[in-house]
Symmetry: C2
Subunit: 301 residues, 2 copies
């Protein structure tokens, strides 16, 4: 481990524990006649994942002295949204994956119908958590969080990106840097951007600081995605807890395939540096976010 | 046609046209690289359906002088939510239906992956519409709408009911009136209840009137579901625009199967009367809602 990263790793590990507890608290208990649904929702969300999106919420919120309870509920909502998207992406009709976060995928552990349904329920529940007054006493904040999550994950965000991903697999047109960039911005970038922005919304931050965090999240997300593609091309499943080498196998166009490993790496580095630069107006409190940008492109899982 | 119903039928027909236009306005246009997703979303929602949920929103809102624009956006949001649930219920892993509203189901017209994704996007978009300031200038109203829609459609609402429906198909325990009642309350009742309540939220109605509309919607939803089961047992696919006789074919437990047609009919009648009685404190403006309760149990499609 790089010793420079020690504070980040400690903070990440602590936030994983906190976010896990927050998720456990907001998810329905496995009780009553609908318990199998709740079991599937919990399986899809709990006990795995780096919680990078949740960490971004917590660290963004920390810039503005937001209460930890508020920040953790928003982190939990975004992680539920993210978990639903993974569960649906893994379905036989989509990527048909068997392994996720080192465990059988949701439809493997349960069945396909339950996996579709638990994903649907997780999406609804994410909005229920954001819209609840326990998340913030100001309804304007709650409505804004709902709006931005819906935009980041909806037809012009994550779902739009997933459509591009599906289309790319059968398209006869060669992928370009621009088409891959759009795909990744929508599919993963928008939600990461919102995760970074959410703390500013919670803290009713001035628009300039809110935009700075959005921009940080946008560049971080782009760097993260290239790093993910590099990992897919170079790491083992044991390291990442999911199938690797998939992109090349599926003939999936990535920047790694298009630019080669070296140029993809320099681009990720450039993006990570740009991301950190958006935090220049923030003080020491943003150090963990700065470290995260650097770490994102050097991680091995 | 029963002449008593003429004003209701005219109002229903007018609201279908208005809601269709509102849906067209809020749905993404089929443009840009993600157009196939938008086409699937539009196919799933436009050009079909009785729009009963939307009509409930409009008539509920009319009790409190809510602007038509606000009411129509909420009606559109609920119809998008409803359409996503139908698209997912129709999937091969769920009910595996080929016909819906007289047209091929979404996964038949497109493909399974697109049907899952368009459903996901419709759910997100419903929240985006509710949370947007075009829907209401008061953020407390927008947050409350998001919260109630998420609750009505989430793990303790519609998704919970769908789980019970799936479990009932393989359960060795015989269904009871109570277990069927819970299933139907969750699967369809909660969203119908919210549809009736939404106008009161938009109109910032006194709590008593809001509760009266909720109660109306709850009983109406229960009556509607029994009427639906009666239709499934007695009507043809040509009349209803979807496969019928399915419940008996699938060995699905319904109140019709449990109580027989006659007792199921009297129960639906009793519920419809109870529903109307919740409107006693409302004036003539609620006449269409009263007529709807009576019509719900006599319709043939």
């Amino acid at each position: 481990m790089n010793t420079e990263n020690a504070p980040l790793k400690a903070a990440l590990a602590a936030s994983v524990t906190e976010i896990e507890a927050a998720l456990d608290a907001v998810l329905p208990q496995e009780e009553g006649p609908e318990a199998p649904l709740y079991a599937a929702m919990r399986y899809a969300v709990l006990g795995g994942g780096k919680r990078m999106r949740g960490f971004l919420v917590l660290e963004g919120a920390a810039q503005f002295g937001v209460s930890r309870t508020s920040a953790l509920r928003v982190a939990a909502a975004i992680e539920m949204l993210h978990a639903y998207s993974l569960a649906h992406d893994d379905l036989p009709a989509m990527d048909n994956d068997d392994l996720r976060r080192g465990k059988p995928t949701l439809h493997r552990a349960f069945d396909e119908a339950t996996a579709i349904l638990a994903g649907d329920a997780l999406q609804a529940h994410a909005f229920a958590v954001l819209a609840h007054e326990d998340t913030h006493s100001d309804s304007a904040v709650r409505a804004e969080l709902c709006l931005r999550l819906a935009q980041a994950s909806g037809p012009r965000g994550m779902c739009g990106g997933q459509m591009l991903d599906m289309l790319a697999e059968t398209s006869s047109e060669p992928a370009t840097e621009s088409s891959i960039g759009r795909l990744q911005l929508l599919k993963t970038g928008k939600l990461i951007e919102f995760s970074a922005e959410a703390g500013a919304i919670l803290g009713k931050a001035p628009v300039q600081q809110r935009h700075a965090l959005s921009a940080y999240g946008r560049e971080l997300g782009a760097a993260f995605q290239i790093a993910d593609d590099i990992l897919d091309a170079t790491a083992s499943a044991a390291e990442t807890g999911k199938a690797t080498g998939k992109d090349a196998g599926a003939g999936k166009a990535t920047l790694v395939g298009l630019l080669g490993l070296d140029r993809a790496r320099s681009q990720a580095e450039r993006l990570a540096e740009q991301a950190a630069r958006h935090l220049d107006s923030f003080g020491d409190r943003a150090d963990l976010l700065r470290m995260l940008a650097a770490y994102t492109i050097t991680r091995r899982s």
